[in-house]
């Protein structure tokens, strides 16, 4: 346990529960808080998904009334996006970035605490709307007017929750940028940084650029509802479609906010278990930056059917397809990294490979959706649902799990149970494909999304999908058990928990002492994660 650190007398953990967790300024403790919070939200959001899949198990209205069904789809998405995926990556960033670049902590430790502690309170408020008159928000996570303006008492709370989450993300992102740009140990120049650090740097920039835009957009919703403005009211000269532009100007970069750090995690794991340096490190950096840039000019691919001028349809169609180029660069680099490597298949590696394959499936369905005339057919069907669950679940969530298995030894000082990890991977992978693959067929056949009932020809695929859904949900309870078991005990981990692992984080003991690198380490070539690029 932490006896090593104690023996050295460097382990100034604050006394007392509140001091340790509520007032903390320690990047590792805050990282842990983020990760635990994210896991909690993942389970709550997952429970909502189970309600959705249970209702859709058979045609006809089974368990819940339509209004509640809509609340479930809306809340599920809001919780998973803002409560599970984003905080998980921020948690990983908090734990790993300072250790990867040789920093004593995050650049602004108090603000780090603030970024985190806003989240549990904001989500408690958001969840409390489930018990209000008219229930939780039910107009979809995209909060489109005019529908969202017709909601009950929950509306104002949902808007304010979004504001708070935005403030939290922006502060977190500012902290990450300042840490990366200002706190690198001497010798850790930009092109020596692990790719996880690079992708987070770019993600943080995206966050600061688009979260305020979302805040502005939802503020307009608020004033339209309560102060008589006409932003989204055509009678007053506004336009409801304008909301969609504002939302997706945020929304599309947002999906990259959820995937770029995932690219980073996978780029750390694949070289370790292939025992080869990452192929094309520099091109990975450039590809990430191009993706980030392009993500600002494709947003209207979410709006092909709202009635845009033809020029707009064409521009956004081609711009969207261009993103496939840098994304392809990444995928080829990952494959080339594994090519002829001395590969082993520990759980993090399995999740990382699963990521590469299944994220690519999601990317391909994305390309299909990017074809404007085809999207006229697919839009708002289960095909879209299948697309974004491939990129988000088998993409972002799988990468998070890969990262958790990969760094858990560093955090806890214990190896997880490899056999259980492998079971978790195969169970999840089979279940998730049973869950989401049939949704492609449902969508192509015309089943609309966000509807609690469906016509009979969709019955079989829905039942299969639901069975996959329950199995996937159960697998994640199993995941919680594996993590818990690892925290409690297990085979002690070495400093370099994986023999092929490179990078600064593996030079500190496992578990990492409460404070690392209080004075900057001297960076030697063998401490660089992707050494083929050391100049």
């Amino acid at each position: 346990m932490s006896s090593v650190a104690h023996a050295e007398g460097h382990d100034h953990k604050p006394e007392g529960f509140l001091n340790r967790w509520l007032f903390t300024t320690n990047h590792k403790d805050i990282g842990t808080l983020y990760l635990v919070f994210s896991l909690t939200m993942f389970i709550i959001g997952g429970a909502m998904a189970m309600v959705i899949r249970a209702e859709l198990f058979m045609p006809g209205m089974q368990l819940v009334d339509p209004a509640f069904f809509n609340q479930m789809t809306t809340m599920h998405a809001l919780i998973m996006v803002f409560g599970a995926v984003m905080p998980a990556f921020v948690g990983l960033a908090n734990w790993m970035i300072p250790m990867m670049i040789g920093a004593p902590d995050m650049a602004l430790p108090r603000m780090n605490n603030w970024s985190f502690w806003i989240l549990p309170f904001a989500f408690t408020m958001l969840l409390s709307t489930l018990f209000m008159d008219g229930g939780a928000p039910a107009a979809g996570w995209t909060l489109y007017p005019p529908l969202v303006l017709q909601g009950g008492n929950s509306f104002a709370f949902a808007i304010f929750a979004v504001h708070l989450l935005g403030i939290s993300s922006i502060m977190g992102a500012i902290n990450i940028i300042a840490t990366i740009l200002n706190l690198r140990a001497p010798g850790m120049n930009l092109l020596n940084m692990p790719l996880f650090v690079w992708t987070w740097l770019i993600t943080a920039f995206l966050l600061i650029a688009v979260m305020p835009v979302l805040a502005g957009g939802v503020t307009m919703l608020l004033t339209d509802k309560f102060f008589g403005t006409s932003f989204f009211n055509a009678a007053g000269g506004g336009d409801p479609v304008m909301y969609q532009h504002i939302f997706w100007f945020f929304g599309h970069p947002e999906v990259y906010i959820m995937i770029l750090p995932a690219f980073g995690v996978v780029s750390e794991i694949l070289p370790t278990f292939s025992r080869k340096p990452l192929f094309g490190y520099t091109s990975m950096v450039y590809a990430s930056a191009s993706i980030a840039f392009l993500s600002f000019i494709v947003w209207s691919h979410h709006m092909f059917t709202v009635g845009m001028p033809l020029g707009g349809e064409l521009f956004f169609m081609y711009a969207t397809m261009v993103i496939a180029v840098p994304t392809g660069v990444k995928i080829f680099n990952w494959v080339a990294t594994m090519w002829k490597g001395a590969m082993t298949f520990e759980t993090p590696m399995l999740f990382a490979i699963g990521f590469v394959i299944m994220f690519t499936i999601g990317g391909f369905s994305g390309l299909m959706l990017a074809i404007a005339p085809a999207d006229f057919q697919y839009h708002d069907t289960y095909f879209v649902v299948a697309h974004f669950h491939y990129v988000l679940v088998t993409g972002a969530v799988f990468a998070i799990m890969a990262g958790v298995y990969y760094w858990l030894p560093k955090w806890t000082g214990h190896m997880y149970d490899e056999r259980l990890g492998k079971i978790h991977f195969w169970w999840s992978t089979i279940a998730v494909n049973v869950l989401f693959f049939p949704q492609h067929f449902l969508g192509l056949a015309g089943m609309p999304r966000r509807i609690p009932d469906y016509s009979l020809q969709f019955a079989e695929f829905n039942m299969i999908s639901s069975i996959g859904g329950f199995a996937f949900g159960l697998a994640q309870i199993f995941f919680v058990y594996i993590v818990w078991k690892t925290v409690k005990g297990g085979q002690p981990a070495e400093a370099r928990a994986w023999e092929g692992a490179k990078g600064l984080e593996w030079t500190v003991p496992s578990p990492a002492p409460h404070h690392t690198f209080e004075t900057p380490p001297e960076i030697k070539p063998d401490m660089i994660a992707h050494p083929s690029n050391a100049h």
Partner: protein, 287 residues
């Protein structure tokens, strides 16, 4: 190794949680108020008070630490980056509202007036509506109104803010030259200019509401006009408060030529507010 060589990592702070409590009570109060519960306002007051308390305490801690010399050059750079990116996020917040202004003027209003693919919308839904700016839409929401002419008070306000940009720069030079009295005087002048701007702005709002029938409810023109100028005014207010704080700090001799990040942060913020106003003046008032 002295403390200043090490990157200063504060050990525990209760201010963030006070801030979270404040923000949460504020929004819960407001949401209840909006939903028709008058008691919500009291909760909101508690929220605002807590946030002010947090700012007081948190900045107090930092000033204390700074004067004790705990902040190395590197810490200073972190703060600078923090402030820079914070201002960038504010720019993007305003961008959303400027974007709304451009979109409605360039697209939404012309379409409602029948341009391009909007021909049938215009014919069937809003027959007879002609696209103009300013506009409160085809339904004329909020009734007829007049706008505030650019070359009156708004122009005066432009000059005031530009001058304040100059005075704060003079104050900065005074910091660098260690002329304390000048520093305080130029800062006080900046505060006075900021306050004058706000006074004029409030006056214009009164006139808009009482005489021009230009309100937040005057269709899209009123919406964009008041939201843009209103958020800007809020930022000027914040900026002025920040200026007042650093004026007092200047009077206490807190700023040295080497160490005056707080001063610069406020100055950057003030310039940002200034630039936003120039955008407003051009796109909201003149064009």
């Amino acid at each position: 190794m002295t403390t200043a060589d090490r990157y200063y990592v504060p050990h525990g702070s209760h201010w963030p949680i006070v801030g979270t409590f404040g923000m949460l009570t504020l929004v819960i109060g407001l949401a209840n108020l909006f939903n028709g519960h008058d008691w919500g306002q009291y909760l909101a007051y508690v929220g605002v008070a807590s946030i002010l308390f947090m700012l007081w305490g948190w900045f107090g801690d930092q000033i204390h630490e700074s004067l004790k010399g705990l902040y190395s050059k590197q810490v200073d750079v972190s703060y600078r980056m923090g402030m820079t990116w914070f201002i960038f996020s504010e720019v993007m917040f305003f961008a959303a509202f400027f974007g709304a202004l451009f979109y409605t003027r360039e697209y939404a209003i012309p379409w409602l007036g029948g341009e391009g693919a909007g021909a049938w919308t215009n014919f069937v839904l809003w027959n007879g509506y002609e696209a103009t700016w300013p506009s409160n839409g085809p339904a004329g929401i909020g009734g007829e109104f007049e706008t505030i002419p650019a070359w009156g008070v708004p122009f005066l306000n432009t000059l005031i803010l530009l001058t304040s940009g100059l005075t704060i720069t003079l104050a900065h030079w005074a910091v660098k030259k260690q002329k304390q009295l000048q520093q305080v005087l130029w800062l006080a002048a900046t505060v006075a200019l900021g306050a004058t701007f706000l006074y004029f702005q409030a006056h214009e709002y009164m006139e808009a509401y009482t005489e021009l029938n230009l309100t937040l409810g005057s269709g899209i023109y009123g919406s964009t006009f008041f939201m843009l100028t209103g958020f800007h005014g809020l930022h000027v207010t914040l900026g002025t408060i920040m200026l007042i704080v650093i004026t007092f700090r200047a009077a206490k001799g807190h700023f040295t030529p080497e160490n005056h990040f707080a001063f610069e942060a406020v100055a950057w913020y003030w310039h940002f507010v200034d630039v936003v106003w120039l955008g407003l003046f051009i796109f909201v008032y003149v064009l």
